[in-house]
Amino acid sequence: MARIFALIPLVVALVFGGFFLWGLDPDRDPNNIPSVLISQPAPEFALPAVEGLDTPGFSRADLVGNDGPVIVNVFASWCVPCRAEHSVLTQLVEREGQRLFGINYKDKPPDATRWLAELGNPYEKIGSDIKGRAGIEWGISGVPETFIVGGDGTVLYRFVGPVVGEDAIATFRQALVQTGALKGGQGE
């Protein structure tokens, strides 16, 4: 009996060790927290157009009944990384024919208008989320964040932070390929 008791600590330690070994897998990133929205229908929201901009407003209805996946990007003129990300998104729209929608998060309309005039406007529609209400619905943790939404309005993918730099762009392109928004083979 005593022998069995004396073995228990060792057995417990081995079980723990097994979990640790699993946890050390270099592909595992504990900071990568998936969105609860994945494979859920996109949240309900309806945003007016940015005041002073020709681009129409953006609501949930725009995400339903599309032919293929579209990109939804949360941005703001006060967000410096967004500026860096802007050219990447523009290229995806202009060279690869992606459809891009924007949520202008907690931004002043004149600032946003000036920002888009300076950098160009790749967005099909932009919703002005001055109070950040839609941001809460989408569960964003900061700006920028980028989602891929399926043709039926299902959220397929979430990217936290700017899609800037080789690694981030490769990851995001891979997601586009996997969701069928982009034909495989390019760039990978």
Binding site: P9, A13, L14, F16, G17, F19, L21, W22, I33, K108
Partner: protein, 666 residues
């Protein structure tokens, strides 16, 4: 040149440790005195060379030698000197060097001061300690060399994480490591005893001072970290159940259990295998802490460089040390002869309850900390986090019965106690506790039941501890002179217990007060706005820009009034460190015995608001926080008193007849 000397010294430390891991232990089994005694010189040699390495790195930090990669990544020429020095152990590599230095210090301390320990046990202990040294030294030399150079050297460094540029935090790692690593020598003693196959009362007495020293440092280290979080992070809390906090707390819980079970082994020759197991597990949990912090296994607000390769190496070390020692335990522990018997109501039984509760609590914290990992592994990638609600709901209900038993335990006699007699002696204490609780209930007008129950138990512990002391010195039962003589003659370990137990009660008041009766306000303010909290009227006067050595800051000015009378001014700051590209919160605290008024400012929510001079102001009133620091200081001091007891310094069993007046002056 100096970095190379440091690197070379590190290699020499490893060479010495390798010799020490073989020679003494082989000598012990062959009865070769010379081989056994070689540990004395090799352990001193290890400290010597490890110190050279450590000071070589420190020199690189002090002189801002930017050819050393570690200095580039963690220092800056404009940083204040204190933080340049503290930067030595601010990084993964540097802290590992400190870890190794302390490891060798403990080894040498045992070989020099442990004159009463038998040669064979000492030789085996020092060899086991050298195994641990070898493990960490190879880890450092192969994966994390602090002396790596860069070429071409940059003109200036990248600065230490500003959050860490703080006096409290400069001292926090050394104390914590002293605790963690101090348990390594206890571990070595335990493994050596298992190899030798003999554990007796004397063994427990030899181990006790080292356990106490490690426990004291760990207590102080945790308290300092908690204090730092309290005033530096600007959230107004002192404990967040963050994984990294938990991994320092678990060895503390286990170590506390070990301190108490070792008493039973020493006095009654019982609980032998259990004490050995606790000694192994306490150090295992310390190693687990290092592993979790350095491997990126869990998400945490504290993080060292995340590197799975390093993680794999430490996991290997863990497997060898913990797996090896537990295998040895499974093999040898059943062979130990059982110790003294005792009745269900006795000092032993009380300490058994203490141990069971502390071990369960450790298990709960361990499970809660690692559950996200288990869950992710079992579900194949789903994630969740375990936060304060889990720990509050599971840990606190476990601790409350412990506090109740703590009040009674010291009254119980060894082997068999008279419960009725104890109850009689505690009658007055119970009455006093009830009255005091009612008084507090009357004064606080409202709060959760659990809050009052906790207050009740804290008071119970406090009064019972005082009563126990009063009984020992026969206060009021004998003439005052007699009581005074008795008080002077009580052994220091007895005072240590009284102080530490009372300290826990005092700290509990702080825990409870600042958790249950805390009030908090987060508001947007513009100059001239007044916020009312807990009877104080706080006026926001505005914010100005000030400059520090390697930062600039927005300093807010707050005027605090109470009922129209001026109380104080508070200056919370938001510091921006341009080199490290980050900012910190310096909260302003007005601390009094009954509560802390705590203010911090944060950047305004939008540019719009900032244009109008508006800021986010967080004001808290936390009653009794001061008692947390006072209580933990009492815990540490209690440990120190117990450590200075002559029983621990003299090898022979204690004799009652020796009076305190003959004790050497301290």
């Amino acid at each position: 040149m100096t970095p190379e000397i440091g690197h070379f010294a590190l290699a020499l430390t490893l060479a010495m440790a390798m010799v020490q891991s073989v020679l003494p232990i082989v000598g012990a089994s062959r009865g070769n005195i010379l081989w056994m005694h070689s540990a004395r010189w090799s352990s001193i040699g290890q400290v010597f060379f490890a110190s050279i390495a450590f000071f070589a790195l420190m020199q690189a930090f002090i002189t801002s030698d930017f050819t050393v990669k570690n200095v580039v990544e963690n220092s800056h020429s404009l940083k204040p000197m204190l933080f340049k020095i503290a930067g030595t152990w601010g990084s993964h590599e540097g802290s590992l060097l400190l870890w190794v230095l302390i490891l060798t210090v403990f080894g040498a301390a045992v070989s020099v001061f442990g004159t009463n320990i038998p040669d064979t046990l000492k030789a085996r202990t020092l060899s086991v300690q050298a195994w641990v040294s070898v493990g960490f030294l190879t880890f450092m030399l192969f994966t994390s060399n602090p002396f790596d150079r860069v070429f071409p050297p940059p003109t200036d460094g990248q600065d230490l994480n500003p959050l860490l540029q703080d006096v409290g935090l400069a001292m926090h790692p050394p104390l914590l490591y002293f605790g963690y690593v101090g348990f390594s020598i206890v571990f070595s003693f335990a493994v050596a005893a298992l190899i030798e196959g003999r554990i007796d009362a004397a063994w427990a007495r030899w181990v006790r001072p080292w356990t106490l020293a490690a426990w004291m440092s760990l207590t102080a280290g945790i308290a300092l970290g908690s204090w730092w979080a309290y005033y530096e992070l600007g959230w107004g809390g002192w404990w967040f159940w963050d994984p990294v906090e938990n991994v320092s707390f678990m060895p503390w819980l286990m170590g506390t259990a070990l301190l108490h079970s070792a008493i039973v082994t020493e006095k009654r020759d019982a609980f032998k295998s259990w004490t050995i197991l606790l000694a192994i597990l306490t150090f295992a949990l310390s190693l687990l802490g290092t592993f979790v912090v350095r491997s990126g296994l869990l998400t945490s607000v504290h993080a060292f460089a995340v590197d799975p390769q390093r993680g794999l190496y430490i996991l290997g070390l863990l497997a060898l040390s913990i797996g090896g020692s537990l295998t040895l335990f499974a093999w040898r522990a059943p062979l130990m002869e059982p110790g003294g018997l005792f009745k269900p109501i006795s000092r032993e039984a009380g300490l058994l309850v203490n141990n069971l509760i502390l071990a369960t609590a450790t298990g709960v914290v361990l499970f809660g900390t690692l559950y996200p990992l288990f869950y992710e592994a079992m579900t194949g990638g789903d994630k969740l986090s375990v936060g304060p609600p889990f720990f509050n709901a599971s840990f606190i209900p476990l601790m409350l019965p412990l506090v109740f038993v703590m009040g009674i335990g010291p009254f119980l006699s060894w082997k068999r106690a008279d419960l009725q007699g104890v109850a009689q002696r505690l009658r007055l204490v119970a009455l006093l506790t009830v009255l005091a609780t009612l008084a507090i209930w009357y004064m606080t007008n409202g709060g959760p039941v659990l809050g009052y129950l906790s207050i009740f138990l804290a008071l119970w512990l406090f009064f019972a501890t005082l009563k126990e002391w009063a009984l020992r010195v026969k206060l009021f039962d004998a003439p005052f002179a007699e009581s005074r003589r008795r008080a002077a003659n009580l052994p220091r370990s007895s005072y240590g217990m009284t102080l530490a137990h009372a300290g826990l009660a005092v700290a509990m008041f702080g825990f409870i007060g600042s958790t249950v009766w805390k009030s908090e306000q987060v508001v947007f303010v513009q100059p001239g706005d007044v916020v009312s909290i807990a009877g104080f009227d706080v006026t926001f006067e505005g914010v100005e820009r000030v400059r520090g050595p390697n930062y600039f800051a927005d300093r807010g000015t707050l005027t605090v009034n109470k009922e129209g009378r001026f109380i104080t001014e508070l200056f919370p700051e938001r510091r921006i460190y341009p080199v490290a590209e980050s900012s910190t919160t310096e909260s302003a605290i007005r601390s009094t015995l009954i509560g802390d008024l705590y203010a911090s400012i944060a950047n305004p929510a939008s540019e719009d608001a900032s244009a109008q001079g508006a800021w986010t102001l967080r004001i808290l009133y936390e009653p009794l926080v001061f008692f947390i620091w006072l209580g933990t200081a009492m815990l540490v001091l209690g440990g120190g008193l117990s450590l200075s007891d002559r029983r621990l310094r003299v090898g022979a069993p204690r004799r009652r007849a020796i009076s305190a007046s003959k004790m050497p002056a301290e």
